[in-house]
């Protein structure tokens, strides 16, 4: 903690409400009320506030009995489930620090995260995660216990560090008998400056860094985002329902699930798994919905695929309703998200025809507030959801400022911007670099064990340098241009934001990944990854046979399709920003293979290592790999040989 810069004024130390305190309040007021549900064995099992509180206490006691002291790190490596929250809050209740791991983290990253954080106890969900931990356990001397939540397959393991969840609860009960006042004592000792969690940033450039968030940070963010209606306006109440499905180790989902539940009393539903999210959404029909653009795009693409397969009459009606939706969407966008008599009338026509049913099918019928964050979302997708009556408020924030920066407010939505700064925070845009700076009690306490890197992003006045380039729109709204380090400077000296072009390319339902290349080059090019679902569907309807992802990517028809998308994008940009050539990426990008971060962001550096020959192919004026330029397309010359070349 000595490395930490002077924490920016915590929000009124006396009024501090830690998350465990908030849960305890609920548990005393409405012990029997359902606070979360988990789908298990085919039905949604209720969990009450009293049970939540009970588990928090037991985990807290158990951790202390395992030797965890205040300030020790405890890691959680699991999909979203009630035990994630039990563990997280139990850890915080005894003043230890929660470290969240992505379920998709491969063993090498697990090793790094466990080593870097120095976690002493690890909650591992199931055999898969336990195996990863056991693989790297020898390299992590500080790791003392591995607690598994699912006994299946693990109960036969014979390892001295393994403990089952039931063992932990039993230990907790025993310890509570011996020292019943422990939790209360720790709650009294809790301070605003206590670090409660390390949130590892995704690390598109270097290894992940653990951002330290304190009680004060979390409390401030909870107030701004939840109780003051920062994310969902009007603020969430106990009548609201939400589905938790994005990784909880990310600050956005932590805010959307744990904090929203603790402060708003919202009933959280845990999806069975990421594959069943669509089905679960339909059952739960949440009233609040936060999603990353990728999910919104998938919902949107899903509607398109299903409508393409619909019967003629249904298509006809849908087509008509979409005409209405387009008009509604445009009008709403023009009017900053406010309904006008025209939109209300059109909506009243479209609602019984299609909108109600459509929203029901995708699980958004009861959504009263929806938001999108963590990346840029394409305006086309926003317009579609606006049109069917789901107004999505884009929100901006990052781990280092506890997700508190800007939001689009109801009735003041500007498409293409991330909205206005939250009330009561300082936000400015650096005049020389264009970087967005924030300053408020939610700004983190620094990176874990990385004082140098902390100094890089935090200046002495308490301003956090977000690393995002932004501009003001109409003096009130902020528009994000790009990550500062991703800005491309062409050989001609022109500054270009690749993500704008990439997002425009990705607007097409056929394109999943697009990486624009051109730093120090004469012109821009792009690496394209197709969306297997939609292009597969498209190929099927045109009777184009294909075998693998790569085979499909390299079909001449597909290349022409991509070329068309590139043309459409180029029309929207200035000549220097035009993509002149493209090559197809021969595989789907994947977290396991190190091309994507855990949050599905492209790691540019490793991508250029891996697909360097594709880039050379373009700038060397060769045509060895499938791709094209603005006039022609070409399939690979001898695909067998290239397979090894690219691998």
């Amino acid at each position: 903690m000595s490395t930490v810069l002077e924490p920016t004024a915590p929000s009124a130390g006396a009024g501090l409400q830690t998350l465990p305190q908030r849960i305890r309040e609920h548990a005393t007021r409405d012990p029997q009320r359902v606070c979360m549900r988990e789908k298990r064995y085919g039905i949604w099992q209720d969990i009450t506030w009293a049970e939540y509180q009970e588990h928090i206490e037991l985990v807290g006691h158990a951790l202390v009995s395992l030797g965890i002291e205040p300030g020790d790190r405890v890691a959680i490596h699991s999909e979203n489930r009630p035990e994630w929250l039990f563990g997280d809050l139990g850890i915080v209740a005894v003043r230890a620090i929660t470290v969240g791991l992505y379920p998709t983290n491969p063993p090498a990253e697990v090793r790094y995260l466990l080593q870097d954080s120095g976690a002493r106890v690890l909650f591992a969900e199931d055999q898969e995660q336990v195996d990863k931990a056991l693989d790297v356990e020898a390299d992590c001397p500080s790791l003392e216990w591995i607690v598994y939540l699912e006994p299946r397959g693990v109960s036969d393991y014979d390892h001295p560090k393994l403990l089952s969840w039931d063992d932990v609860l039993a230990r907790g009960r025993e310890h509570r008998e011996a020292d019943p006042s422990l939790i209360e004592r720790r709650a009294r000792e809790a301070e605003s400056g206590d670090i409660v969690t390390l949130v590892y940033t995704s690390g598109t450039t270097g290894p992940p860094k653990g951002a330290m968030l304190t009680n004060g940070n979390v409390d401030f963010a909870t107030r701004v985002l939840v109780t003051e209606g920062g994310t969902y306006d009007p603020p969430p109440t106990s009548d609201d329902v939400l589905v938790s499905y994005l990784p909880l180790c990310h600050v956005a989902e932590r805010a959307a699930t744990t904090w929203t539940n603790a402060a708003g009393g919202v009933t959280v539903h845990f999806a069975e798994s990421i594959e069943t999210v669509t089905a679960n959404l339909r059952e739960v029909q949440p009233t609040l919905f936060f999603a990353v653009p990728r999910i919104w795009e998938k919902l949107y693409a899903g509607v398109h695929i299903k409508m393409n397969a619909a019967s003629r009459f249904k298509k006809l009606v849908y087509g008509f309703a979409m005409k209405l939706a387009d008009r509604i969407g445009e009008e709403l966008v023009r009017n900053q998200g406010n309904h006008t008599p025209t939109t209300r009338l059109l909506y009243a026509i479209g609602y019984p025809l299609v909108f109600r049913a459509l929203r029901d099918r995708i699980g958004l019928r009861k959504v009263r507030a929806a938001s999108s964050g963590a990346a840029a979302i394409s305006p086309e997708v926003l317009r579609f959801f606006f049109g069917i009556g789901v107004i999505i408020y884009e929100i901006y924030g990052m781990t280092e400022n506890s997700a508190v920066a800007t939001v689009n407010r109801p009735g003041r939505v500007k498409l293409g911007t991330v909205g206005e700064p939250h009330d009561g925070i300082d936000l400015q845009i650096d005049e020389t670099t264009g970087e967005i700076l924030t300053r408020h009690p939610g700004v983190f306490a620094g990176y874990w064990n990385k004082p140098d890197q902390t100094r890089e992003v935090m200046d002495t006045d308490g301003w956090l340098h977000t690393g995002d380039v932004g501009v003001w729109v109409d003096g009130t709204h902020v528009k994000i241009v790009d990550r500062i380090k991703d800005i491309i400077i062409t050989a001609g000296g022109k500054n270009i934001s690749p993500s704008e072009i990439e997002n425009s390319l990705k607007t097409s339902p056929f394109i999943k990944e697009a990486v624009v290349v051109g730093d120090g080059r004469a012109y821009l090019t792009a690496l394209i990854g197709i969306e297997l679902d939609t292009i597969g569907d498209w190929a099927l309807s045109r009777r184009i046979p294909y075998t693998t992802y790569r085979d499909l990517s390299e079909k001449e028809e597909v290349l022409k399709l991509v070329q068309k998308v590139v043309h459409q994008t180029n029309e929207r940009f200035a000549r220097v920003e035009n993509v002149r050539k493209f090559r197809m990426m021969p595989k789907e990008l994947d977290h396991e293979d190190g091309e994507l971060t855990a949050t599905q962001k492209v790691k540019r550096s490793s991508l250029f290592d891996m697909f360097g020959d594709l880039v050379d192919d373009m700038y060397g004026n060769r045509t060895a790999f499938a791709g094209g330029d603005l006039t022609t397309v070409h399939t690979p010359e001898h695909s067998d040989g290239e397979m090894e070349g690219a691998a």
Binding site: P31, Q32, R33, V34, R37, G42, I43, W44, Q45, D46, I47, T48, A50, E51, Q53, E54, R173, E177, S238, D239, D240, V241, T267, R282, E283, V284, Q285, K306, M307, A309, A310, S311, K314, V317, Y318, A321, V354, A357, L358, R361, R365, K366
Partner: protein
């Protein structure tokens, strides 16, 4: 430790977090309920109300016809249990109907001449009309359980012929061929269910009174069957139907399951037979022949295999079709009346239509009318998608 105090309290959730979420099941009871959605609850209640109102407005003739629909539905549900749910094709349904009818007539009918009758109360003869065929079903089941498919169909066909012979010869009970006997008197503690009565201040003809009785009985027996179908035994039926060897491997006792299906089916058939005899008025052994079995097969084929509501729809269709054709014949020129004028007579047309419909359903919609309803429902359920 005295255990966790919190978990002993029942969890409660605010209405706002439950309302309008029909697929959010928080316990198995709701998930498996017969009326598991508000829409189903509403429509069932509405149909029951309409059913209760009809006898107060319809003509005696139509009321009688609808009573027949309910009786056919009870028999159809019985056949659906053994053939639809448990997959055991039975052509012997008519035999069990007859057995029920004669049991009822013997216990509840008047003696006349050589024909015997005990004039007991309905509360005795109606249950017995189910129990006696069920007992016979129990005797037959071990034989029937040994064979399946075509062989079972032939075996049960044998039952019909044996039964017809038996009914013709047992003159003291049945009155013999061509003569027949009077059915049981539907009297409960002196209150005649097949006579003019005053209900709720309205004087009703006997058809309406019996209608109400059959309606209530049909609902009761339909719920019974539906509950059975979603129980452990119902799942065992389906398992045996889908693959008997696999079912046995999973621990479903084949003999016991098939026997239960036969016994229950015979019970339902016996009840239906007893009620049918009351409506027919005078029953002869020729009533219970193969054609009646085929009628019931048509009920479940046209209505829908392995559905209770399908049995009711099928019964309505089979019973009301002849009347519909008769009614339509007045408007179509080439159909002659009963007299024989015109290109084709009403009766011929009824027979042809009946056969054609069975063929059509097997080819086009094997799930029957209920399957058509499912298709319509799914069309709107998936709206605006197609799947």
């Amino acid at each position: 430790m005295t255990g966790q105090p919190s978990t002993t309290l029942a969890p409660k959730a605010s209405r706002a977090t439950r309302r309008g979420r029909p697929e959010l099941y928080t316990d198995y009871r709701a998930d498996q309920a017969i009326w598991n959605t508000p829409a189903k609850r509403f429509w069932t209640a509405a149909l029951v109300l309409v059913g209760l109102y009809l006898p107060f407005t319809l003509s005696r003739d139509l009321t009688g016809l609808l009573t027949l629909v309910f009786i056919y539905a009870i028999g159809g549900i019985g056949l659906n249990l053994v053939t639809g749910y448990a997959g055991q094709v039975s052509l012997g349904h008519a035999f069990f109907l007859g057995l029920g009818a004669y049991t009822a007539a013997f216990l509840g009918g008047e003696p006349s001449g050589t024909v015997r009758g005990l004039e007991l109360d309905l509360l005795i003869w109606l249950p017995m009309a189910g129990i006696v065929p069920a007992f016979v079903g129990l005797l037959v089941a071990p034989l029937a359980a040994r064979v399946r498919g075509l062989y079972l169909a032939i075996l049960t066909l044998g039952l019909v012929f044996m039964g017809e012979h038996l009914f013709k010869e047992a003159r003291t009970f049945t009155g013999g061929p061509g003569v027949g006997r009077a059915p049981a008197e539907p009297v409960v503690f002196g209150y005649n269910l097949y006579a003019r009565q005053t209900i709720l201040g309205v004087e009703l003809p006997r058809e309406s009174v019996f209608y109400l009785f059959c309606f209530a009985l049909m609902i009761g027996m339909a719920i019974l069957a539906r509950n059975l179908a979603r129980s452990r035994w119902g799942r065992a039926f389906a398992a045996v139907r889908d693959r008997d060897i696999a079912a046995e491997v999973m621990g479903v006792p084949l003999l016991r399951t098939k026997t239960l299906a036969f016994v229950l089916s015979s019970f339902f058939a016996g009840i239906a037979g007893a009620l049918l005899s009351v409506v027919i008025g005078r029953i002869t052994p020729e009533n219970w022949n193969l054609l009646l079995s085929i009628d019931f097969l048509a009920v479940i084929l046209i209505g829908g295999i392995a559905t209770i509501s399908g049995s009711l729809i099928g019964a309505a269709f089979v019973v009301l079709l002849p009347r519909g054709v008769e009614w339509a014949s007045g408007y179509v020129p080439f159909i002659g009346g009963a007299g024989g004028s015109g290109f084709i007579s009403v009766f011929q047309l009824q027979g042809i239509l009946f056969g054609a419909l069975i063929v059509l359903f097997i080819v086009v919609e094997p799930r029957g009318l209920f399957g058509m309803w499912l298709r319509i429902r799914n069309y709107w359920k998936a709206w605006p998608f197609s799947y």
